[in-house]
């Protein structure tokens, strides 16, 4: 018997996506008879997106016999806290979403399913500069691993392409009143804004921005691909452009989207898709170990992950290179309250 | 123990406990209508506790308290006050951040519906206590101790109660103000007001009272006519001392 253990973050929307998607995938595998007839068991632990909890949960997971793979966590900060524990226990850790380059540098046991921030920064720059044609850009960013790295890399990418970043401003997690920032933005007179904030802060920011009569084009990165962003921001979200490696409207993803929707009654978001692929990559590696007749250990699964063939999932192709992958983006725009493919 | 005609207030063998400590042991006393009754005793003799049990501030564990034919032991203070009792609390207890006017007005709270009567009584209080009239808008907390005691008396008067309970009105006052306070009490008595008075200053209390009870360690040790008690050698020794 083998076991998976995603660590779910507190931000419930993300956590639910993770859990749902992994469960969906494993149900499918187990319904088909598991791996060589052995079912895969899933253990879910909530790390509340806190490093301390992530470390505690990681200890608990590594102390559970039979665990050979773990999926999580959501933020780089929490993933990093858990990483040394998994490395010590020689259990591979696939984070669907941790995008900070440092994560996969921790040990040979860390893998990710999404692009690193270095890759994403170029997509960010493309979103605001190439697709939305903005040249004088402001970037509010969240003061966390992802935000700080993103603003640095994105600014560099934009300026390399000939754009200009007029103003960047750190936003503390949980901030809600952006009017002072918006007055500053107005005074800077930009022609585009790239929002490097979690969707909750981003939705309030964009509402207040539009309310203040600032109608410049707005672009966003991964967090804004959450349907929750549109739900919270309402009309203010219209016209926002994002890049994503998963688009549920894509016909080739229909099987996954339909299955997910049938079970959970909502559209899968990018995070669900990434977790789904993390499960897929992991199961593939585990079955290769089982089929090779080698003992099923974390070390064996890691080696298969690192050296195995490419895996084609719903978010693109995963071929690990030092634990990292590179996937191509799709550009989406918010129209009539949903994401649609951006027409050029 | 009880007299034949029903008293306005009668306390019948009450015990009071504070936590594990017993403060009163079977204390009985009564106050007839129109009478001034004084409760004397040293510190911690239980005299204030007796008064507090009448007012509902502490609940007796044993015994009954009957006011005007109704049992009131264990009732909330507001219920007791509603039955026609006014209180001049120990240490005056005026509302420091409210004006003299507002303090007095609150005395009439149980009969707040009778606006005209209150206005008239208020005017009377100001005639009696010209110093309060001068300070109507002043915050009560800025008054001197003696003035505050006057305010407390005026406030209680506005209740127009059939029984006034007064706790240590002379405490902390200079002799001159003690005189002034007792002047008022003598006039209340003359007007037929029923008063239950707790006082440490036995000499002056016995001058005012018709009857008195002496408490010691929570027991009634002596009771009787005020004049007789004032002449009693034991009382003189214990409570009048050399003043």
């Amino acid at each position: 018997m083998s076991a998976f253990s995603p660590i779910c973050p507190a931000i419930a929307e993300y956590g639910a996506s993770f859990k749902n998607a992994v469960e969906l995938y494993l149900d499918k595998v187990n319904a088909d008879g598991g791996i060589n007839g052995r079912p895969i068991k899933l253990i879910v632990e909530d790390d509340r997106n806190s490093p301390q909890e992530a470390a505690t949960v990681a200890r608990k997971i590594v102390a559970t016999p039979g665990v050979v793979l773990t999926i999580g966590s959501w933020s780089t900060t929490a993933s990093l806290a858990a990483a040394p524990i998994f490395a010590e226990a020689k259990i591979p850790q696939i984070s669907p979403t941790s995008s900070h380059p440092d994560f996969t540098r921790q040990s040979p046991f860390q893998f990710r399913q999404n692009n690193t921030d270095d890759v994403l920064a170029q997509y960010n720059a493309d979103t605001i500069h190439k697709k939305l044609k903005a040249n004088r850009i402001v970037i509010p960013y969240s003061q966390d691993d992802w935000g700080v790295y993103t603003v640095k890399a994105t600014t560099a990418a934009i300026e390399k392409d000939g754009g200009k970043v007029l103003l960047t401003e750190a936003v503390i997690p949980g901030a809600k009143d952006f009017r002072p920032l918006i007055s500053k933005i107005k005074a800077a007179n930009p022609d585009g804004v790239f929002i490097a904030l979690p969707y909750q802060e981003a939705s309030i920011f964009i509402q207040q921005l539009r309310q203040a009569g600032v109608n410049i084009p707005a672009g966003g990165g991964i967090p804004l691909t959450s349907p929750k962003f549109i739900e919270l921001a309402g009309k203010a979200a219209e016209g926002v452009v994002v890049h994503s490696i998963f688009f549920p409207g894509d016909p080739s993803k229909k099987a996954f989207v339909d299955a997910y929707q049938a079970k959970y009654h909502k559209l899968p978001d990018q995070f669900a898709a990434l977790a789904y692929d993390a499960a897929g990559v992991g199961v593939a590696a585990i079955s290769r170990v089982v089929q090779s007749g080698k003992p099923l250990t974390g070390q064996a699964v890691r080696d298969e992950l690192a050296n195995g063939p490419a895996y084609a999932g719903v978010t693109g192709v995963s071929k690990f290179e030092n634990g990292n992958v590179k996937k191509d983006p799709t550009f989406l725009v918010v129209r009539d309250g949903t994401f649609q493919l951006l027409q050029q | 123990m009880n007299t034949a005609k029903p008293a306005l207030l009668s306390i019948d063998a009450i015990d009071v406990h504070y936590g594990a400590v017993q403060a009163l042991y079977g204390v009985s006393l009564h106050v007839n209508a129109g009478e001034v009754v004084s409760v004397l005793g040293g510190n911690a003799s239980g005299k204030s506790t007796t008064l507090k049990s009448v007012l509902g501030l502490v609940g007796p564990t044993q015994g009954r308290i009957v006011l005007d034919g109704r049992e009131i032991q264990g009732r909330a203070p507001a219920d007791v006050i509603d039955l026609g009792v006014a209180s001049v609390p120990e240490g005056r207890r005026v509302f420091p951040d409210m004006s003299v006017d507002e303090n007095l007005l609150l005395g009439a709270y149980p009969r707040r519906k009778h606006k005209a009567d209150i206005a008239q009584d208020l005017a009377e209080v100001f005639t009696t206590f010209p110093r309060l009239a001068e300070r109507r808008k002043q915050l009560a907390g800025t008054l001197s101790g003696g003035e505050q005691q006057m305010l407390a008396l005026g406030r209680a008067w506005l209740r127009r109660g059939k029984l006034v309970c007064i706790d240590e009105p002379s405490m902390g006052l200079s002799p001159r103000f003690v005189d002034a306070v007792y002047d008022v009490l003598f006039r209340w008595k003359a007007a037929g007001q029923t008063i239950l008075l707790v006082e440490q200053n036995a000499r002056i209390a016995l001058e005012l009272a018709d009857r008195a009870y002496v408490l010691q360690y929570g027991h009634v040790v002596l009771e009787g006519n005020a004049a007789d008690l004032a002449a009693d050698a034991a009382v003189q020794k214990a409570y009048l001392g050399a003043a």
Partner: protein, 300 residues
């Protein structure tokens, strides 16, 4: 017991209050008051309520700051210093509301009275008059002494405890048998005694007592009077300032009386002189009672 005299060179031994005033938003609680309290003297401060007696004690003990005037202990200025510095200069005081550290045991409460002396090298308050302004031992030395139980520190502690014990035992068996009970369980009068015991445990040079006999019955008051007289006999240089309404006590113990009225000094002198002054009688004792006629007695 022999006590050292004030430091040589101190021009005027004693407590000197000079032109002291304290105004609270326009109200002159204390207005240009001057008096002296000499070593070995018992001075009583009397006056009607609101005359400013308590405010004066608050000023002298540093709890309140004066608006104008000076307070000198020998040649050391007290005004402007905080209460703890003044206490460490040898000035003990009690409060009108007896402040006794309610949850502490009676014994601990008294021992706190000796702590400041302990910090000053084991000496008592009166041994170091004027000089040094209450310099304290190093807190690190204190921690080391307590944590490691250093012999020097333990000796100082034992001496301090002996002083606390003496102070408690002054009140006969009123306090000593109750030493392990929490202070809040004491009767009102015993709390007053406990507070006075704490003040005396510090062996101060001057003591300010704010209505020490309030809440005591006549026999208890007499007992306290005797105690204060005994104290004076034992410590001939102790200066005592007593605020008191009970004139029986004042007449028995006071060498001199200062009568205050509306913040000002109305009279000063021996008890007989001051208390029988007609102006004082008028202000303080009030007129003789005349029973009001029944007719004008509607309200009061």
């Amino acid at each position: 017991m022999v006590h050292s005299l004030p430091t040589p060179g101190s021009t005027q031994p004693g407590l000197h209050v000079q032109g002291l005033s304290r105004h609270f938003s326009g109200v002159k609680a204390v207005d240009d008051v001057s008096f002296d309290l000499l070593p070995g003297e018992i001075l009583a401060l009397v006056g009607p309520n609101g005359a400013g007696k308590s405010t004066l004690i608050q000023l002298v003990s540093g709890v309140e700051r004066p608006t104008a005037g000076r307070i000198l202990l020998g040649d050391v200025r007290l005004d402007g210093r905080g209460p703890e510095r003044i206490a460490r200069l040898g000035m003990g005081r009690s409060f009108q509301t007896s402040r006794v550290f309610p949850a502490l045991t009676v014994w601990d409460s008294v021992r706190l009275g000796t702590q400041a002396g302990l910090l000053r090298g084991g000496g008592t308050m009166h041994k170091d008059p004027g000089s040094g302004h209450g310099r304290l031992s190093n807190p690190l030395a204190e921690i080391a002494g307590e944590l490691l139980g250093l012999p020097g520190w333990r000796r100082r502690r034992a001496e301090a405890d002996a002083r606390a014990e003496t102070a408690l035992k002054r009140f006969g068996d009123r306090l000593w048998p109750r030493r392990d009970q929490p202070a809040f369980s004491l009767s009102y009068a015993n709390r007053r005694r406990l507070e006075i015991a704490r003040v005396l445990a510090a062996e101060p040079r001057y003591v300010l007592l704010d209505e020490p006999a309030a809440g005591m019955n006549p026999s208890e008051t007499a007992e306290l009077t005797d105690l204060l007289l005994a104290l004076r006999a034992e410590q001939p240089t102790l200066g005592l300032l007593v605020v008191e309404h009970k004139l029986s006590l004042v007449r028995r113990i006071a060498d001199r009386v200062v009568v205050l009225n509306q913040g000002r000094v109305l009279a000063t002198g021996t008890p007989a002189e001051a208390l029988d002054d007609p102006e004082v009688v008028e202000a303080y004792l009030g007129r003789r009672r005349t029973r009001p006629a029944e007719s004008d007695a509607h309200l009061g």
